[in-house]
């Protein structure tokens, strides 16, 4: 097409009348003029704008809310934060009623669980359980040593760092200390789970783990643990465990560097008289001791 630029300008209404006159002199302008003229008169559907608008409004459209509503969201977050705090604190106040009992050195405590099961807590021990959920789940967590007299009912479990004890209704003692785990059954049947192994204990049997080694134990015929009678009994227990127990029952610190503390001790000591207790341990092992304030030093008898 000749003069394409001019023609395009002309159709876009950018030419002056003089320029149009010039353009008209070109050879095929007549056809172009006709095209331009008649194409402008092609019919298009006539829209009644008002009526169409009314029809559109009848569609009952809903505006989508803008995504950017910073101010509004902030209030929502504020409300949400307040609600969260309220709910959390309410939960801790009213629902998560974790009860705990704790004893210090030389203390014992006895208390009843919501189902009237009785617990006797030995020195330096702690028990935690959920009071609210007790009817559904008789679960408690123990650090230390306790004697349980469980009422018959649903499974009663005692969780410790070393293992889980499950019973239905019995009397038993659980002792979980450093590198020491012991469960003794006094009545009924107790199931002990340790490292995925489950052992069933009938009355008079003890399950004992020292330094991750399961120990063989003798049967016993006591009806309650000796510590209930203010005495700690040991049957072939390493001296360090005995010393640890002694430190829990008397407010003293024991030093035994010169002594072989892996030596086994069989015997018992009382919780009521420190002198007798110290003698009860040292004499059978041929040891002697010196008291310096709250520190007690064990040493070999012969070495002196």
């Amino acid at each position: 097409m000749k003069k394409e630029k001019e023609i395009l300008k002309w159709l876009n209404g950018e030419l002056s009348s003089k320029e149009i006159e010039d353009l008209k002199q070109s050879e095929d302008f007549e056809t172009l003029e006709k095209i331009a003229h008649y194409s402008a008169h092609l019919a298009t559907p006539k829209v009644d704008a008002q009526q169409a608008l009314a029809a559109l409004k009848n569609r009952k459209l809903t505006k989508k809310e803008s995504k950017v509503r910073t101010l509004h969201f902030r209030t929502i977050f504020r409300v949400a934060a307040v609600i969260t705090v309220l709910l959390t604190s309410a939960y801790f106040l009213f629902y998560n009623t974790n009860q705990s009992f704790q004893t210090g050195i030389a203390q014992t405590e006895s208390f009843q669980l919501p189902d009237n099961s009785e617990v006797l807590l030995n020195a330096s021990s702690k028990i935690t359980f959920n009071e609210k959920n007790w009817d559904k789940k008789r679960d408690l967590t123990l650090e230390g040593e306790a004697y349980f007299q469980v009422q018959k009912g649903k499974t009663f479990s005692v969780k410790t760092a070393d293992g889980v004890v499950k019973v239905l209704g019995t009397h038993f003692d659980v002792k979980q200390r450093n590198n020491y785990y012991e469960v003794s059954c006094y009545e009924g049947l107790v199931s002990v789970t340790y490292n995925a192994n489950t052992v069933k204990l009938p009355p008079g049997k003890t399950f004992r783990v020292i330094n991750k080694q399961i120990e063989k134990t003798d049967d016993f015929d006591a009806e309650t643990p000796s510590w209930l009678q203010k005495e700690s009994s040991f049957t072939r227990i390493p001296l360090n465990q005995v010393i640890a127990e002694l430190e829990r029952q008397y407010d003293i610190k024991i030093e035994a560097q010169d002594v072989d503390t892996s030596k086994l001790f069989t015997g018992s000591f009382t919780h009521t008289n420190q002198k007798i207790a110290l003698e009860a341990i040292t004499i059978p092992l041929q040891l002697s001791y010196k008291i310096k304030g709250k520190t007690v030093i064990f040493y070999k008898y012969e070495g002196q």
């Binding site: 097409m1 095209i35 008649y38 092609l42 559907p45």
Partner: protein
Amino acid sequence: MSKENNNLCEESYFSEFYIKNVQSATNFAYYKSGDSDAALDLVQDAFAKIWENCSQIDFTKVKTYLFTTVNNLFLNTIKHQKVVMDFAKETPYLDRTNQSPEYLLEEEEFKHALQKAIASLSEAQREVFLMNRIDGKKYREIADLLGISQKAVEKRMSGALKILKEQIENI
């Protein structure tokens, strides 16, 4: 700008925008589909979308949004078909003073040839050509509405002219 955005969500403002643009948008849809009922339906759907999303549409681009939406809806819903358009009943002849039967016959033949030639244009050429001719839109405006460059509009325009001229002269 946000103030203007809000305006679009105002019913009176939206109505004004609607009344101003519904005809040219419908024409645009008609150039594409050749179906006047479908054309208005498309346009109504497009306006509905604008209303629903009024808060998210940039006010300065709402016209482009309208035409783009019409185009997309058209591509989604309507099968491409040959677009044969009719002339308005009261189309005046180019030379109003010449009433000789030969001239009138000649012009009618020309119109018929033009009608066929426009139907043979590509969709892109036809919409640009007719937006210029029928709606009297400038190239710049067409480019904005279609979201293409003015150069592209001019190219389509001259392509359309070339085809129309060739087809008519061939008869």
